[in-house]
Point group: C2
Chain length 412, copies 2
């Protein structure tokens, strides 16, 4: 059995684990598939977790959140190795204390102990890592406080030789919005059956549908070629809903389209409360196209900041198609942008009615060609309804930008 | 060895795992500490993972993301049990297909197979779960698509008897902002040493410092009493930085303070791009105090929407204390709220200078008593700088609200 296992030693038993998620992506980009990720909050469990992880794995990577010799001690015991004082580590520790103007306490010397035969991996300015060669596996201990990239960089040659004994893995994720998962699965199965070198899996991801392709081959080029053959088939099945690949989030795709078309954008949000602006501005350089956002939580704000007529609010209610359209038009005109995007809805848990239950959301896109609103009914908690509303606002904007008739041409 | 292990069977090897995090919190609230959480993306690994999880655990909970008999088949093999067709499950499956107007395909019958002796756990409207009693452990299989609460509710009596053979665990998390982790640790160690029934661990959590107390006792009351004795000691060490406990996030604490004082709020955001409004509106009922948010990404928007003078922008730059103050004053006056909160800064990666490097952020709070701005220098990625800016904006507002002189008295 080969494959990679990631362990996170953390005192936080209910965290959402971004550390090993990022590490899994780094390894996947190098063709190393992660078979298991394990989070170990209890110190008493560390040695058992290491032992289980070593069962037949080619590579075990341990992220340590707390400084301390916990993982090293457990590993030394498992391998029957002695713990020895490492002169380089001791020096680095003393220097760190000196830099803070403190004398190194006697107990801190424990941090310089390593299993005999281990290699110390240093990076400029960051805490060091360790590499230990077990009979069946390589074990890398990395401090969670530092980005793992620089330390992994030193390990690639060794890791690749060890972990790739049974071939290479390449993977790609194709992302889509607005499709039925079961339907995508059924259509892909019928199109891609009988390909033993390719695993295709569909799964939901925060309101999106993701399709992950994993190709196995004797070489990286072979695995990549398998992916390249499969990708157009999947893109065709996903159709208009297919928005991007791998790491690029929807807001970056939308940002790229706005840049290419030299268009500017302003947004008006009610139920999303700022989340739409937040997502748009997660993209570096978004100030080139994002001009302003207005979070108009009260009816007064909708009137004063967007010019939504009081009569419209009275006739249709704040959560309605006409008000969404007036918000999109209003923010576009007042900001002087090419496009206006507006969201109004009921995120709950209060505020629903039989005609407009919690989760009812209207999204409108305004361009020089006019304005269109669409009605949605989302399920879930307040937080999930907000997230789905922002997702679909970005998606409607993306689809508008992709239409053959560009919205309003090119701005100066 | 006792304790709980959580497994997530998912096709998504690099997800941030919110499912088992939520489950760990549910179990912790009932006194069951989670020793290990494991994410298993590869189907070929499921049986090994189940076997390892069963090694001496009292309780194993498996969340399954994909529908299918994968975990059941692995579990049956491990326990030497036969898979048998369950009439209740078969009926439920047929009904689900009928509701969609489809005939049940022959292959779907596999979903009605369960290890002999297993108990089917149903909830109204949701997909069913399974409970299997292994010699040493209880194994619960839950569908990830449904909230786990209703199914767990049926299991508590059984779980408690099994999992608590070696006593009860109670835990509490105290959360603070603006402290040095190492300092908190040193002070807590000297105050709480020599308490064998209490484990105290400090760790960083997205710019906050969290202190987790875990108490062990023969009874729930005993463990709770240990926590109650320790909590004031920790609160004293954390001081003004201590904002709340357990599940209540900072925005909910701030919301509670605003409600209690009957104060209203408007915000003006530059570098946070809407994140501050998003966090404030995550709280149900926030429309009672949150009036509006303005995301003023351009200088034009700062002038037009907040009345920030062009001369001020020219003299100090958009990222400056005077502009932050003018933004806070402007949004407060125009929205007619009791308080105004403003953030302006450089989230990067571009836009820094030697005098104002990336991560420089100014936050201002305006009240009827005047306005105060504070300068920060945050590290990290664009996304992290945005997150820390929003965090500290909420924290400065919280500290302002807690001062003896309430800001501007009570609004009508």
């Amino acid at each position: 059995m080969t494959g990679v296992e990631l362990l996170l030693l953390t005192p936080d038993p209910d965290r959402e684990d971004a550390g090993t998620a990022a590490l899994a992506r780094l390894l996947a980009a190098r063709g190393l598939a992660v078979a298991v990720r394990r989070l170990v909050p209890e110190e008493a469990e560390v040695e058992r977790a290491l032992r289980q992880a070593l069962e037949g794995r080619a590579l075990v990577v341990v992220l340590e959140e707390a400084a301390g010799p916990l993982a090293r001690r457990g590993l030394a015991r498992l391998l029957g190795a002695r713990l020895v004082l490492n002169a380089r580590l001791l020096e680095a520790l003393a220097a760190a204390f000196q830099a803070r103007g403190q004398a190194m306490p006697r107990e801190a010397e424990g941090l310089a102990l390593v299993p005999q035969g281990a290699t110390v991996l240093t990076t400029p300015g960051g805490p060091p890592g360790l590499l230990v060669e077990a009979p069946s596996a390589l074990v890398a201990l990395l401090p969670a406080a530092a980005p793992p990239g620089p330390i992994l960089e030193q390990l690639w040659p060794l890791l690749e030789a060890r972990a790739r004994r049974e071939g290479v893995t390449a993977q790609r994720t194709l992302k889509a919005i607005g499709l039925d998962l079961a339907e995508v699965e059924a259509r892909l199965t019928s199109r891609l059956a009988g390909r033993p070198d390719l695993v295709v899996r569909c799964f939901p991801h925060h309101g999106e549908v993701w399709v992950r392709l994993v190709a196995h081959g004797a070489t990286a080029a072979g695995a990549e070629a398998t992916l390249a053959r499969a990708e157009p088939v999947i893109a065709e099945v996903l159709g208009e809903a297919y928005y991007g690949r791998d790491e690029e989030p929807l807001e970056a795709v939308v940002g790229r389209l706005l840049r290419e078309r030299r268009l500017t954008l302003a947004v008006a949000e009610s139920c999303t409360g700022g989340l739409l602006g937040h997502r748009l501005t997660e993209v570096p350089g978004s100030s080139a196209y994002f001009e302003r956002g207005l979070v108009v939580y009260s009816n007064e704000a909708k009137q004063a900041l967007l010019g939504v007529p009081a009569t419209l609010l009275a006739a249709h209610g704040a959560v309605s198609g006409p008000v969404a359209e007036a918000m999109a038009r209003g923010v576009r005109e007042r900001a002087g942008t090419d496009l206006g995007l507006a969201v109004t809805g009921i995120a709950g848990p209060e505020g629903g009615s039989p005609a407009k239950p919690v989760g009812t959301v209207f999204i409108a896109v305004a361009s020089p060609d006019g304005v269109e609103a669409r009605r949605f009914r989302f399920g879930g908690t307040r937080s999930e309804i907000k997230a789905l509303s922002a997702l679909w606002a970005l998606e409607l904007l993306r689809r508008r930008l992709l239409r053959r008739d560009p919205p309003g041409g090119v701005s100066a």
